[in-house]
Symmetry: C2
Subunit: 228 residues, 2 copies
């Protein structure tokens, strides 16, 4: 019981901070996404291409990346030219709102259109921690097996979109797309699912259009709320 | 500080239970292994073939498998003919010694040569929880990227053996074996590394020989200790 109380304590503190972050993002007009998946699903690879292609469309993007150790991912993502910062959790298995806030410090959020937060690779723990994002995106690679949504439901049920990654490896992995879709929808019936390959670019037009459309809808909703 | 104290409290309780389990395994002469990796690295696939091939060699094997939800893995492993039980953690991100003890209840351990415990797919949290095993085995698939040991050091530094899995997919994944070895050894310099494919059987002779040799050494060490 004691541990449960403490966990609730951590969560409600995190929820307060996440709410504050969400307000900050709304005021700045920066659409923020929290990318969650297993280690090795290809979050950084997807993000690398996403940052580059959104920049090419004239949008201003930035990223925070979480890992237990190393700044490998930040170095990879900085190649896109976008501002990127590494959050090193020193052993913690997920990002918390406080860490995000600490790493945003001197960034001018009002000068950004999109902020991507790449969580620690973990299909369990990040699902409990709101980072103030507008959308949570759960990734599943074709190499992981179609049953992961059934075994790890909270990540998929708390996400707004599921992306199947590494589609170029579907054939050697004997990936059963329909089964994966059915499994994702059995834990989250109405979720949208995209299929991508950051290597070949498959699915990226759809993914970027999705991002831009979602941000547009959010901006209009904010404007509507302001005039009511 | 309070959360740290509570975490220490959970760990020391777990450590006490793990010690008790370890004694039980020693008395029964059952060599116990704890398999840890990301979700989708192929723990179950490796185990399925391992149970079958060890049985074919006349050894008595059993398995416990951990997941947040579903008994998919137990059903898959039961096909080997070995006794298998599913541990469903209901959301918890790792196995604890108590769960293992609860699921061993009426099994006659003295009638077993090997007990495999497949942990929840998670490259972070299981590293902190001793399950009383003789050996901890960390798996890394060729699909996950060579940098995972650098980003998630505790799992690899606390393991006794590293197994690279899904070797049949090395080519389409452009897997750099030497880099992966170097990264594993940079967090755990003297660790043994095996390369396997449960699909093709690659590396299984070496893996089974390793298991049998390790168990033999452990039995002899126990005997030695008893006669001193």
């Amino acid at each position: 019981v004691r541990t449960v109380e403490v966990k609730k304590g951590i969560l409600s503190k995190n929820d307060r901070l996440a709410k504050r972050l969400r307000q900050r993002y709304e005021e700045a007009g920066v659409f923020t996404l929290n990318l969650v998946s297993s280690p090795g699903t290809g979050k950084t690879e997807l993000l690398q291409r996403t940052l580059r292609e959104l920049s090419d469309r004239g949008l201003k993007v930035a990223a925070l990346v979480g890992d237990l150790q190393t700044d490998n991912d930040a170095l990879r993502l900085q190649k896109s030219g976008a501002p990127v910062r590494q959050i090193t959790t020193s052993g913690l298995c997920h990002l918390e709102a406080q860490m995000v806030e600490d790493h945003l410090q001197d960034w001018d959020l009002a000068n950004l259109d999109f902020l991507f937060v790449e969580n620690v690779g973990n299909l369990v723990c990040p699902s409990s921690f709101d980072l103030g994002e507008q959308l949570r995106i759960a990734l599943l690679s074709v190499t992981e097996g179609e049953d992961k949504p059934l075994k790890y439901p909270p990540i998929f049920s708390s996400a707004h979109l599921a992306i199947i990654t590494k589609a170029d490896l579907a054939e050697p992995c004997e990936f059963q797309a329909q089964l994966a879709h059915d499994n994702i929808r059995s834990v989250h019936p109405d979720i949208a699912i995209l299929t991508t390959s950051a290597r070949t670019g498959q699915g990226f037009t759809e993914w970027l259009d999705y991002l831009i459309r979602q941000r547009q809808a959010w901006l209009e909703e904010k404007k509507g709320a302001a005039t009511v």
